[in-house]
C-alpha cells in the first residue's frame, strides 16, 4: 500500500486560513489501512481544525466525507454534492487524491493534508516500512523475494557492499543488510546458485525515466 503521514496541523490550517467552510475528504484505500487518512483520521483533523479556528476567533465549518477511493474518477464524481458548497477541499489521500479532486473540481482549491512517503507495508501495529521502489521492472524472482532496489540504500544489484556488518547496514544498526537477508533466504531455499548470476545493469527506462508512467489494457476498457 501507499504509506503516508499527516502534515503538521499548523501547515494544514495555514492552507485554509481564508476559508469559512471546508470539506475534509478522507480516502478508504491505503491511507485508511496505514491510519493516516481514513474516516477516523478525517474526523480528528476536522475537529482539531475547528478547535484551532474557534480559539483564533475565526470559526470554521467542516464537512467530512470519506471516499471509497480517491484514485478512481467514479468516487471523485460522487463527491460533487459535498464539494459544491465549500470554499476548499482538504484531501487526506496520498498524492493522487488531491490531484484527482483538483482535476475534477476545477474551480475549487484543493490542499493536501498528508505527505506521501512510500510503498510498503506494516511491520507491526504503528510501524510501516518501505518494500517497493516502484521501479517498473521487478527482480524479486532473482533475490528470494526481497527487494534490493529499495531496501538496499545503494540499490546494489550484486551485493552486499563492504558496509555490511553482522547482518546490518552501515547506515544504521536498525537497518538490515538486505543482501544478507537475500543470502540467508536463498540458502534456506537451496538456491545460492542464483547469486552467481551477475545481474546486468538495471534498465531504469522502466522507472521514472521519460516522465509520468501510464499503463493501458485494451481488454478491460469499456
Amino acid at each position: 500500500m501507499i504509506i503516508a503521514e499527516q502534515k503538521p496541523l499548523k501547515e494544514v490550517a495555514d492552507f485554509i486560513k481564508d476559508c469559512n467552510k471546508v470539506l475534509v475528504a478522507g480516502c478508504g484505500g491505503c491511507v485508511t489501512v496505514c491510519l493516516s487518512g481514513g474516516e477516523k483520521e478525517t474526523e480528528i483533523l476536522a475537529s482539531a481544525l475547528r478547535i484551532k479556528r474557534r480559539i483564533e476567533g475565526k470559526p470554521l465549518e467542516t464537512v467530512t466525507y470519506t471516499a471509497t477511493r480517491q484514485c478512481d474518477p467514479e468516487f471523485i464524481e460522487a463527491m460533487e454534492s459535498v464539494v459544491r458548497d465549500v470554499d476548499a477541499v482538504i484531501s487526506l489521500a496520498c498524492g493522487v487524491g488531491p490531484q484527482y479532486l483538483a482535476e475534477r473540481y476545477q474551480d475549487k482549491p484543493v490542499y493536501p493534508a498528508l505527505n506521501t512517503k512510500f510503498a510498503g507495508g506494516s511491520r507491526t501495529h504503528g510501524v510501516w516500512e518501505e518494500y517497493c521502489g516502484l521501479c517498473g521492472d521487478c527482480i524479486l524472482h532473482r533475490t528470494g523475494g526481497i527487494c534490493p532496489v529499495i531496501r538496499c540504500p545503494k540499490s546494489i544489484l550484486n551485493g552486499p557492499c563492504g558496509g555490511s556488518q553482522n547482518g546490518k547496514c552501515e547506515i544504521g544498526q536498525e537497518v538490515d543488510c538486505v543482501w544478507q537477508l537475500i543470502h540467508d533466504r536463498l540458502k534456506r531455499l537451496g538456491r545460492l546458485d542464483l547469486l552467481k548470476e551477475i545481474a546486468p545493469l538495471k534498465d531504469w527506462s522502466k522507472s521514472r525515466d521519460g516522465g509520468p508512467r501510464r499503463m493501458t489494457r485494451e481488454d478491460v476498457m469499456i
Binding site: 469559512n20 475537529s47 482539531a48 475547528r50 476567533g57 465549518e61 466525507y65
Partner: protein, 144 residues
Amino acid sequence: MKAFEPQIIAFCCLNCAYSAADLAGSLRLQYAPNVRIVEMPCTGAIDHRVLLQAFEEGADGVFVAGCLEGDCHYLQGNTRAEKRVKALQKILDETGLGGERLEMFNLSTAMGARFAQIANEMTERIRLLGPSPLKSKPKGGGPG
C-alpha cells in the same frame, strides 16, 4: 461576576475508576462536584474523537481513568488509552487549547480516596488554567 467553576468530563473504566468513584461516594468522601463521569467498559475503548468532542461541546478539562498498570481486565486497554491520550495532548497543544487540559490517571477499585483526590487535583488544575478558550467563541458549524 460569577466565579469560574470548571466542567470536567471523566471517562472512567467500569472495572476500576468507576467503581472507585462509587466507593468514594459510599465512604462519604467530599470531592469537587465539577466532575461528570462517563462509564466505559475499558479505557482501551476510548476514541480520540470522543475526547475532542467533549472539548468542542464545552468541557474545560477531560480525564481518562483506567486500571493500574498491569491490572487491565483486557490486559492492555489502559496502556493503549494512555498512548492515545498522549497523542491527543499533542494535538490539543497544536490547536492552542493546551494538552494540559487532558490527563490520564490509573487507579484500582479500592482507591476511592485516590479518585476523590484526582477529581480535586484536576479541578484545581483547570481552575488555574481558566475556562476553555472555546467557551467564549462561537461554533462555526456542526461536525461533518
